[in-house]
């Protein structure tokens, strides 16, 4: 499928995209005079663009390529898994989007700090954001290596390393020069390209079946690669039967659902909207885009099985990433494969940039929030941090290409579910919640998740494990199945174990979250004073009542 023509087309489209996007990124530099301009594009992103950028933040190499192969190979169980991600958007919409934008912070630390001790809130925010940045970025860079081999035919490990390093540098430049506005433009372009490619492929597949979905399903069922245990493609079992217990796949279905909405770099996108209402609309539309996207992916996967045959599209898990390029070749030939290659490249670079700006924002904002306001110095620090973090991540990610780290993907989502979701839900809804509860739910959630991860098949004893040579796994589940309940419990116990509480902080948080008062939306703001007026830039007073 990746012949010379396809690679040539991919390189040309990628080069054109790179020039166009870098021009847009450079144009975005002019708009940055305050830290908020840099972190959040001055909160000037409208609902439509923000929805596309949110959608793009969801599109990983795995979301598109691996899921197509996964559904083609594991059928129903994988299709159900894809629905978990669509469901997760309801959490983002109902609990996070509008309240968090209304509160008007720049990091999750700004939200925590309204109610809890400032140092603890900032430490929790930095720890969570950086932890998830590191694990997720490493997975994205690994995906970059796969794109290089799969879509651009780069077989040598040196060649792949050079290409991945290049993606890391480009992402760093995007953030350094364009800030959040530049990153958003790259993400919007990525969303449009992904939507276009998936739409073309879906229509191509459906046209082969004269838009008869029942015939498509019958064909897929008939031509599926046989399963060792005899499970059919469209019934449950191919994943649920793994490891002798349905608990393994069940835990994946739970973790994707609770964890995905709680990734800190996704919160950044709620903060960039012009108001809570726009944040709500953008999260709603993005969720619907994801739902439509996965229905199309299912059509592509089942269509690939039916049209090309389950035996011919990578019928073991390690090669399932090839399903989509094989299908693209079948539907549109080298041109479509080349377009898909450029799309894959933009998917990775966009993700790297989105992750980088979330890490830089937390690292800079959560540190500077504890100091006297100095917008100019903070902006300089943000750019310096971008350079340091971006280049360090590029070096580490390139070196780690030799290691099997794909298991870090579910681990990252587990961490988000355990470390962020409980603390956020308590912060927004529980009056009694306090500093100790925050500390216990965030750090306890991380600890509990790490512990389960250590003894899960993601660490040892399975083909996807990080340490594939040894086997000391005890439980066959994704970590957050235990990590999320543990974090809720620890947050509860920590809270009631401490007499501190901040009723005024809770009142302020709820009033701001529900009404948008003090969110800065709709106020005339001059660029020179904006930074000083940002919520969170004045240290909240903690009231201790003992």
């Amino acid at each position: 499928m990746t012949n010379g023509t396809a690679v040539g087309v991919g390189v040309v489209i990628s080069a054109v995209l790179a020039v166009a996007l870098l021009a847009m990124v450079v144009a975005a530099r002019r708009t940055q005079t305050t830290p908020t301009d840099f972190y959040l594009a001055g909160r000037r992103i409208g609902a439509g663009q923000n929805a596309l950028a949110l959608f793009a933040g969801f599109i990983l190499f795995t979301t598109l390529f691996t899921m197509t192969g996964h559904i083609a190979l594991s059928g129903f169980d994988a299709f159900l898994f894809s629905a978990a991600f669509a469901m997760s958007w309801l959490i983002a919409l109902l609990i996070f989007a509008a309240p968090l934008r209304n509160i008007g912070g720049q990091t999750i630390g700004d939200v925590f700090a309204i109610r809890a001790n400032e140092r603890t809130a900032r430490a929790a925010s930095i720890t969570v954001t950086l932890l998830l940045f590191v694990t997720y970025t490493m997975v994205m860079m690994e995906a970059g290596g796969i794109v290089a081999r799969l879509m651009f035919g780069v077989d040598s490990s040196t060649g792949r390393a050079v290409m991945v390093a290049g993606m890391g540098v480009v992402a760093t430049v995007v953030v350094l020069v364009g800030g959040m506005l530049g990153t958003t433009r790259v993400m919007v372009a990525k969303a449009l390209l992904v939507i276009a490619v998936v739409a073309v492929l879906t229509v191509g597949v459906l046209a082969k079946y004269r838009f008869n979905l029942m015939q498509l399903l019958d064909d897929a069922q008939a031509k599926a690669a046989p399963h060792p245990a005899g499970f059919d493609l469209l019934g449950p079992g191919r994943e649920f039967s793994l490891g002798g217990s349905p608990l393994g796949h069940l835990s994946k279905l739970f973790v994707a659902f609770v964890g995905h909405a709680a990734l800190p770099y996704m919160f950044m996108r709620h903060f960039t909207a012009t108001s809570g209402r726009e944040a709500r609309r953008s999260a709603g539309w993005a969720g619907l885009l994801v739902g439509g996207f996965y229905l199309c992916v299912a059509v592509l996967a089942f269509g690939a099985v039916g049209l090309i045959g389950g035996q011919n599209i990578g019928f073991i898990p390690p090669t399932r990433d090839t399903t989509l390029p094989i299908l693209a070749d079948f539907i549109g030939g080298s041109w479509l494969v080349g377009l898909l290659a450029a799309t894959a490249l933009l998917i990775v670079v966009g993700m790297l940039a989105a992750l980088l700006i979330s890490a830089v924002t937390s690292l800079t904002r959560d540190v500077h929030a504890m100091r006297p306001s100095d917008p100019a110095g903070e902006l300089r620090a943000a750019r310096r941090n971008t350079l340091i973090v971006g280049l360090a991540a590029t070096v580490v990610g390139t070196l780690l290409l030799q290691v099997n780290i794909h298991a870090l993907l579910p681990v990252t989502i587990s961490f988000a579910g355990a470390a962020v979701l409980p603390a956020m839900v308590y912060s927004l809804f529980w009056k009694r919640f306090n500093t100790a509860g925050l500390r216990w739910s965030v750090f306890g959630g991380i600890g509990a998740t790490a512990l389960v991860f250590l003894f899960s098949p993601l660490m040892s004893g399975s083909p996807v494990a990080i340490l594939s040579g040894v086997d000391f796994h005890l439980v066959n589940i994704d970590p957050a199945l235990l990590g999320v309940p543990a974090a809720f419990l620890l947050g509860f116990l920590g809270t009631i174990g401490s007499r501190e509480h901040n009723d005024a902080g809770f009142a302020e948080l709820q009033v701001r979250a529900l009404t948008g008062a003090d969110s800065g939306a709709g106020e005339p703001r001059s660029a020179s004073t904006e930074g000083a007026h940002e919520p969170g830039s004045v240290k909240p007073e903690i009231q201790l009542s003992t």
């Binding site: 919409l93 509008a98 399903l217 209402r277 609309r281």
Partner: protein, 111 residues
Amino acid sequence: MAIRNTPSNSDRYSAVHDSAQFTVLRRKAQTFTLGACVAFVGWWFLAILLGAYAPSFYRQTIVGSFNVGLLFVLVTFALVLAITVAHLKYARTTLDPLADQIRAEFEGDLR
């Protein structure tokens, strides 16, 4: 905005928080959120537990290769659409006017 978080400002937040208007807004918002969460979390647990422990229920044919399991996944996607649309509409028509009123009074008082 510049004077926020002073003690008097936090008294003002507490006053709004205790007001009848805000109590209505909070009750409406939280009732909707809770109801929707119970519905979609409940549905999701039902859908995945059936897949894990009642696979033969999901394998029942409806028409051709289309079975009960696929129907349940499609209903899941439909539920995402339905709750999203319902929430956006409810927030726009019911919650936003209440929030606007409270906010206008709150910020008007500040000036």
